[in-house]
Each structure stands twice: as structure tokens, then as C-alpha cells.
Symmetry: C2
Subunit: 209 residues, 2 copies
DNA sequence: ACCTGAACACCGTTCAAGT
DNA sequence: ACCTGAACACCGTTCAAGT
């Protein structure tokens, strides 16, 4: 509700908006709250950025380049593909609000172009045919993004009710599931572990033809 | 803005809300528009359902059972696992608004319990060990849900700008990507084809050890 | 039991007016 | 050039009041 700290530059406006989005999510960013944070009347914002959409456009523009830069490491093609997948996941998880904003603006192809290019180079080095490579790139991309979006969702959802633990304790026998497996399913897994496991499996399967 | 058609039962209220959500998405469902659609004052809705949250709860309750029911078909373990993945995808795509609502309510474990159980039975039949089975179930589940959420997103996003075609025509050489591969990446693929391909790869890789 | 209307606290946005 | 205040059309929700 306070803030002040000098004049309202476009720079400071976007910085503040970005911080608010990172803290509370895009949905909770209101022009009026942002104005209060800046210590200014709501309508002042409309002079610097046109409107709410244009403000979000500016946030996307600020972050897009950071996410697009991909690091590749490793000796074998499999290791290098895995490192691309990991790098992409890490960058996206660091800015959980960005994917949605990018998607709403039709910028998804632009955002993932460098990652696709990096994957294409590695698959070519591994000797994969053109049509197979194009499909494999898509498969890895969808896999990684899907994982990130899901993790972001579950991070923001309330505590499961009923919990997986309660459900499996009660339903294992009725569902014809081995109690030992059920007790494993009752445990919550680190999303990173599931990502590592399934991405390795997918990549090795893609490379083996 | 009109509608009327008899008294406002809880039944008719939920039916109407569900139709509006399917047409325009959850975000565009307002109590005032729903009231107008029913030909009644806004506040009448609050008598039948407590508030907006409770209304959405009722929508979820109505649809949860349908999505949970999973069909399994096929002879080999791989074919049966694939049929579970396909069935899950089909059910989720038919109700694109549901996943988000379920997640916000902490009902995700409940929703996917039957699918997890079906996967567990098939993996046990294939002779997979407990810890591996629990991980494989998670991997398939994340893969499928991730794909569905992404497809839903791209269905709702505007036409990509710049398009993948334009991007690849311009950047293929600079990115060190084989032009033939780039032209494949420029084409848009049927999401169903990518899903079939990558899910087959993942499942075969999981089953082979 | 079922519904209405007024009211309150929120939105995004426009526009004339101030300095 | 930069900002304010009033105003408009939207929200969800509460509450007293009607039948």
C-alpha cells in the first residue's frame, strides 16, 4: 500500500509488476494494487504502459531471452540430449508464470526454437533420420514442458484431500493392486526424480530406434 | 440474457453452468451472466449453491466419476498399458476444463486412482518389481497428463506469431540445423501422432528394463 | 422455501483536467 | 511530460426484505 521511492519510470513499473507476479501469480496482479505499491494513482500506470495486456507483454519480453538460452553438456548423444532437457526444465521452473503468458501470446514457437535447434543438432550427430528426428524433438519437448506445467500445478494446489496415502490404504485390495506396490504409490515422490527417470527412458528409447 | 424455462432447480443451475464453462472456459463464468442465462436475479443463485466456489465444486463432482472410469484392452502388457494411456487422454481431452478445477481442489490423487490401479495391475502382470512399478506408473501418468494439458493450452492460444514455419525458414542455417530437419520442424504435427509415438517409446522402454 | 434489490468492496479502462 | 479524480461497466458476496 506504500512504496514511493522516487519517480515512476517504466523500468521501475515493470520490475515491481514482475516481483508481484512472482510472489502471487499473474491472476492476482491488479492495476490498482500495482499502483498502490508504486505510491501513485491507478491511472498513472496507463500513461507508462498502455494497459494490463501491454504490461504483461513487457514482462514476457524481459524474460524470454533468459529462458531461451540453452546449455548443452556431456559426451555421448544421450547425455547431451538429457542435459538439454534438464536445462530447459530448470529454466522454466525458475519462472513458473512465464509459460502461460508466452502461450497466451502465441510466442511458444519462438521461446522453444533454441531448444529445438539444440536437440536437432544432437540427434543429427547421433545419425537419426529427418522425419524421426523431427518427431523425437517434439516428443522430448512435449515431455519436458508437460512435466514442468504439472509440477507447477501441483505446487500451487492445496494439500490433496483425500491424500494418496489414505486412498491407497483403503483401496489397494479392492483395486486388485499388490499391497507392496500400493504402499509405494502412497508415498509422494520427488518430481525431479520422476523427471530424471522418465526422461532417461524416453531418450534412450528414442536413440535405440 | 434470456432463458427462463421454468423454476431454478439446483439441477438446471449446474447444467447451465457446465454448458457455459464448456463453451467459454471457467474464467469467463460469472455469477451475473449465469443468473441472466437462467432469467433470475444474481442473488437467487446464492440460495441454491453457496457461492462460486461451491458451484464449481458441484461441477467437479458431476464429472469426476466419468473421467475416473478407465477401459483396458489388448493382449500384451505393452498394448494394455498403451490402451490405458489412450483412454485417459481421451477422457481428459473431452473435459478440458476439469483438470484445473480438480487440481485446485486437491482431488488429483482421487481422480487418477483408478488409472494408477489399472497401470499397477498391468505392470505386475508384466513381472515388474515394486519400486520400478511405482516409478513407471508415475512416469506414464505424468507423461499423459502433461501432454493433455499442453494440447489444451495450444488449442486455446492464438495463432503463433511468428509461426514455426517463419522461424525455421529464417533461423535454420544460423542455428546449425539441417534444412531438411528444419522443414520438418516447420510443419505442425497432429498432437495425437506425437502422443502415440512418444507414449509407445516410453512404455516399451519401461517394459524392457 | 425461494427470490429480489440495494449495497459493499473489488476489478480494468477512459477521459477531462491539472501541473 | 507526467499525474490525478471522476466516471463507467464490470466482478463476487451479504443482507434485509419481500412472497
Amino acid at each position: 500500500v506504500t512504496g514511493a521511492a522516487g519517480p515512476v519510470t517504466r523500468q521501475r513499473l515493470i520490475d515491481t509488476a514482475l516481483r508481484m507476479v512472482e510472489e502471487d501469480g499473474v491472476g492476482r496482479l491488479s492495476m490498482r494494487k500495482l499502483a498502490a505499491e508504486l505510491g501513485v494513482a491507478v491511472t498513472a500506470i496507463y500513461w507508462h504502459v498502455g494497459n494490463r495486456e501491454a504490461l504483461l507483454d513487457a514482462l514476457v519480453e524481459r524474460e524470454l531471452a533468459d529462458v531461451s538460452a540453452i546449455r548443452v553438456a556431456g559426451a555421448s548423444p544421450g547425455a547431451r540430449l538429457l542435459s538439454i532437457a534438464r536445462s530447459l526444465r530448470k529454466k522454466l521452473l525458475a519462472r513458473p508464470h512465464l509459460i502461460g503468458l508466452v502461450n497466451e501470446r502465441g510466442l511458444t514457437p519462438l521461446m522453444f526454437l533454441p531448444a529445438q535447434a539444440a536437440l536437432a543438432r544432437e540427434l543429427a550427430a547421433a545419425g537419426m533420420q529427418q522425419a524421426d528426428a523431427a518427431m523425437a524433438i517434439r516428443a522430448i519437448q512435449f515431455h519436458v514442458i508437460g512435466f514442468v506445467v504439472l509440477q507447477r500445478w501441483s505446487d500451487r494446489s492445496p494439500a490433496p484431500n483425500p491424500s494418496a496415502e489414505d486412498l491407497w490404504r483403503e483401496h489397494a485390495v479392492r483395486a486388485g493392486v499388490d499391497p507392496a506396490v500400493a504402499s509405494r504409490l502412497a508415498e509422494s515422490l520427488d518430481p525431479g526424480d520422476v523427471f530424471e527417470f522418465s526422461t532417461r527412458k524416453l531418450i534412450s528409447s528414442l536413440l535405440s530406434g
